[in-house]
Point group: C2
């Protein structure tokens, strides 16, 4: 599993740097520091690598915690942001998803991503935590579009910064007042590395 | 000017269909129904076409109307959505913007786009229309990321639908209460063609 992860990370880095067409198995093998056989054993082909990146579970690593379902959603939004900022595997996925539209052999991950983000919103709706006008699937789709857009250019601020803005602007418009009062108003800052000033300067 | 616009539209269509690398001047000329000389006269090169598409004024066609600056911002957000849904020139721009990051010769349009969207928000802040925690530049950046993300995949709903969700969720979180009461709660639906069911189905 560790080798698989090392190869996937190297593939994601090469795809981000050179594009899908420009990244070769040989480059990925060299970057990962593994034998070419390992890449073929785990993924069969470059297409297999793309499939694996598109199939990542975006909610992996989400820590369960007590509280409203909307708190879980808010935590998930920030997890997605941090993974986009720090994990090349996750950063490569929206780029590949855009290509998936034009590839017969790839399946768009969009429906799965939308479902992942919609799940806690549906739970929140069921528990009466949302204002009545809010449509969970529409909010989930908006969130995934915004998140994917953040992956597509390097001249903007971090995804975490942008999705904190999203939450601070949107939560008052979607949470029922009693739930809004129970949410952590400012989730904790991300530990670990994030993009520095050099990356966020226009 | 009409020829220029016809060529730009044809270029945008070909770039969306085949990618920037896959779209040739010959194909663009054929699609536009003009002589190749016209393309070279107006744009010099394929790169010149990309520059022109990246330089589009996103706020073109925004109708001034009386009311809070935040109403102008809300109108602008929906104009951006409709242009993304209906104008190939505008749809090609976020795709080219993502490529601009890796092209020495192209300038990222992101700062200009962000400024266009931030302008009415700064006016709104000056006029006391925003809640005090709202940072106009951060909201503008979020909006542009989301908008660009909507251009990057075809399996989701229309941009107009998604940005209406954005407005209905966000305006309560950014507008001062007195201003929120003055905004048109549901801006009019777009006239003219939009993506049909075939384009929005997953």
């Amino acid at each position: 599993m560790a080798t698989r992860r090392t190869i996937l990370t190297a593939a994601a880095e090469m795809i981000i740097e050179r594009g899908y067409g420009g990244a070769s198995i040989a480059q990925i093998t060299a970057r990962a520091g593994v034998a070419a056989g390992a890449v073929y054993f785990h993924f069969r082909s470059k297409e297999g690598l793309a499939h694996a990146l598109l199939g990542l579970d975006l909610a992996e690593g989400l820590l369960p915690r007590r509280g409203p379902a909307l708190q879980e959603w808010s935590d998930l939004v920030l997890l997605l942001a941090r993974r986009l900022d720090t994990d090349p595997k996750v950063r490569a996925a929206p780029y590949l998803a855009a290509l998936a539209d034009s590839q017969d052999s790839w399946t768009s991950p969009w429906p799965a991503w939308r479902a992942t983000v919609a799940r806690p919103l549906h739970a929140a709706a069921r528990d009466g935590e949302l204002q009545t006008h809010v449509q969970p699937d529409a909010v989930a789709e908006l969130l995934i579009s915004a998140w994917a857009g953040m992956a597509g250019h390097r001249t903007s601020g971090s995804a975490e910064q942008q999705l904190r803005t999203f939450l601070s602007c949107c939560l008052p418009g979607i949470a029922a007042p009693a739930t809004a009062a129970r949410l952590e108003p400012a989730p904790r800052p991300a530990p670990g590395p994030g993009p520095g000033p050099a990356e966020t300067a226009a």
